[in-house]
């Protein structure tokens, strides 16, 4: 990897922080638990890293580490999304009233 790649990576890093702040700061307290759970599933992207190390492993120790990382990552992704969906499903099961939530900006 050359310097330009590193610079790109750091640029992406910084911009992602700003996007994260911008997207989250408007979420009402009602949704904080599902949101935490939802962002928890987003970092399940780590499973992609686990797949890549599984692909690069050639020793037993490497396989072992990759296996544990795959179990962890798989749990994070699948469990995270499933449990978030379960929570949000309950929020949606209401009759469609006009949403009155003046505190949304807090």
């Amino acid at each position: 990897m050359n310097d330009l790649d590193l610079l790109t990576a750091i640029t992406v890093f910084v911009l992602s922080v700003l996007v994260g702040v911008e997207v989250i700061s408007k979420v009402p307290a009602t949704l904080h638990t599902p949101l935490m759970s939802g962002s928890n599933s987003v970092h399940g992207i780590v499973v992609i890293g686990a797949m890549l190390i599984a692909a690069g492993s050639h020793t037993w120790l490497g396989y072992l580490l990759a296996f544990v990382a795959m179990v962890f990552g798989g749990m994070n992704v699948v469990g995270g999304y499933a449990v978030t969906d379960r929570m949000l499903e309950m929020f949606r099961a209401r009759p469609p009233e006009t949403p009155k939530n003046p505190k949304a900006e807090v």
Binding site: L6, T30, T33, V42, M51, G73, G74, G79, V83, R94
Partner: protein, 472 residues
């Protein structure tokens, strides 16, 4: 980069867009579920693209495929099972466990990378620095989140655990992170540095969370969630995958914001929470236990309360963790419906930190089919308490204690619900036991307060039956 690799990275870009839009849709209850589905879809496509990339590169061995497939399937099955079976009250623990495994996976990636490098000494700071950071943050998150989950589940004592030298240890361990990180950066092939750093980080996760009281766990979980995001982003630097950097930092910054919102709701700084929990620092902790109940508590029965409720015009419910622990959200929903049908104006006052996680109470009440339009946040509901004929407190404690308005005690300055301003207050609680702050609740001994000593589930069921007789 060849064509396939290029294509895969365009897919990763699309995934990142899905994550951002998905989180954005979580701004509103109506669109939140779609947002989660969009985010999950983006994740699925990214995983499929990675499989394609792995096949295309062709370096993977048969054992590698077995490891990849079996590990992924086992993890997915475990996660799905846990997600399906968990009770809504145990949700914070489960999120914490999922967070732990995410951090653990991120740390393992860096450990593996440093072990596998053909010539680790030549890696350079470009890989070894983020690698070391990944190991530190990931391992701290892993052990810390498991302890946090244990505290919430009651496996580990919810009280702040303090042992001699704990403070000193919590200074020494981070200092050794710096030393270990520098060592690993200078000598990326040193196994001693690698294993030593991992062990110290795992230990620190434990010693960091143990002294924090159960009441602060929501903040801790949000903070650890942000940590995991950073660990994953560091793994992205190690593997040179921008997808991990984007997703990791999105989570990290959003987790940071949530942590701050939570800490603000408790009128405490994040540093203050991490450095020491309630009752650990100053003063003599008030004695707990059943003995010496204050004399001026007025006890009421289900029938007394039912009459008040049936003839009230406006009733505010104040649910707390006791409601969640007793799984009584459905009984409360039923009682509310009965009163609403009878023409009583019913609303719910939800403190931002009611339950064990930000917004946890809203989830529980949603499960009990309470329309979210009846749920009122603190600032909105506080001016309404003086008009409320009855405020019914179910298992909430510290967030209703008027002592918070005075300086000089464990909860001074914490924003509270102004329950004591209601015309009449009824508290359903099992005993006079203390909340997390470990101090007496002055609301319970107030002149307009009646205590209904019972389990939340049974008490609400009795109330519903009694109210049913009056209005039926």
């Amino acid at each position: 980069m060849d064509t396939v690799s290029n294509a895969v990275h365009y897919v990763f870009l699309a995934t990142a867009v899905c994550f951002v839009l998905g989180l954005h849709l979580m701004n509103h209850p109506r669109t939140a579920r779609r947002g989660n589905a969009l985010s999950a879809g983006g994740m699925a496509v990214a995983i499929a693209a990675t499989v394609w990339l792995v096949i295309h590169e062709g370096t993977i061995t048969t054992t590698g495929w077995l490891v990849l497939a079996s590990g992924g399937l086992i993890g997915a099955a475990l996660g799905l099972y846990a997600a399906r079976e968990v009770r809504m009250t145990a949700m914070p623990q489960l999120v914490s466990v999922f967070n732990a495994v995410g951090g653990g996976a991120a740390a393992l990636i860096a450990v593996n990378d440093l072990l596998q490098a053909d010539d680790a000494a030549a890696l350079g700071a470009r890989v070894s620095l983020p690698g070391a950071l990944d190991i530190v943050i990931g391992a701290v998150t892993f052990s810390g989140s498991l302890i946090a989950a244990g505290k919430l589940q009651g496996v580990v004592s919810g009280a702040p655990v303090v042992f001699p030298g704990a403070r000193l240890l919590n200074v020494l361990l981070p200092a050794s992170f710096v030393a270990g990180t520098v060592w690993l950066v200078l000598a990326p092939d040193s196994r001693t540095a690698l294993y030593g750093l991992t062990a110290v980080a795992l230990l620190f996760g434990v010693t960091m969370v143990l002294p924090i009281g159960g009441a602060d766990m929501p903040v801790v979980i949000a903070l650890l969630n942000a940590f995991t995001g950073s660990a994953v982003a560091m793994a992205g630097f190690v593997l040179n995958e921008t997808a991990l950097i984007v997703a990791g930092m999105l989570v990290s910054s959003s987790g940071g914001i949530l942590t701050k919102l939570m800490a603000n709701a408790m009128n405490r700084s994040v540093v203050n929470i991490v450095v020491g929990g309630f009752g650990t620092g100053d003063g003599v902790p008030t004695a707990t236990g059943p003995g010496g109940a204050p004399a001026q508590v007025r006890q009421v029965s289900a029938d007394d309360v039912a009459i008040q409720l049936a003839y009230a015009r406006k009733v505010v419910f104040v649910p707390g963790y006791g409601l969640a622990a007793a799984q009584a959200q459905h009984e409360l929903g039923d009682l509310a419906k009965l009163l609403t049908d009878h023409g009583v104006d019913v609303s719910y006052a939800v403190h931002p930190v009611a339950g064990r996680m930000p917004g946890h109470m809203n989830v529980l009440l949603a499960e009990a089919n309470v329309p979210y339009t009846q749920l009122k946040e603190m600032d909105e509901v506080n001016p309404e308490f003086p008009q409320a004929d009855v405020a019914l407190v179910i298992g909430a404690n510290d967030v209703t204690n008027p002592a918070a308005r005075r300086p000089g005690n464990a909860i001074s300055g914490m924003p509270i619900l102004d329950v004591d301003k209601a015309k009449s207050v009824v508290v359903i609680k099992r005993s006079m036991g203390h909340g997390y702050a470990g101090i007496d609740n002055e609301l319970y001994t107030g002149p307009r307060t009646g205590m209904f000593f019972t389990d939340a589930k049974r008490g609400l069921a009795e109330l519903k039956a009694a109210v049913g007789e009056f209005v039926g």
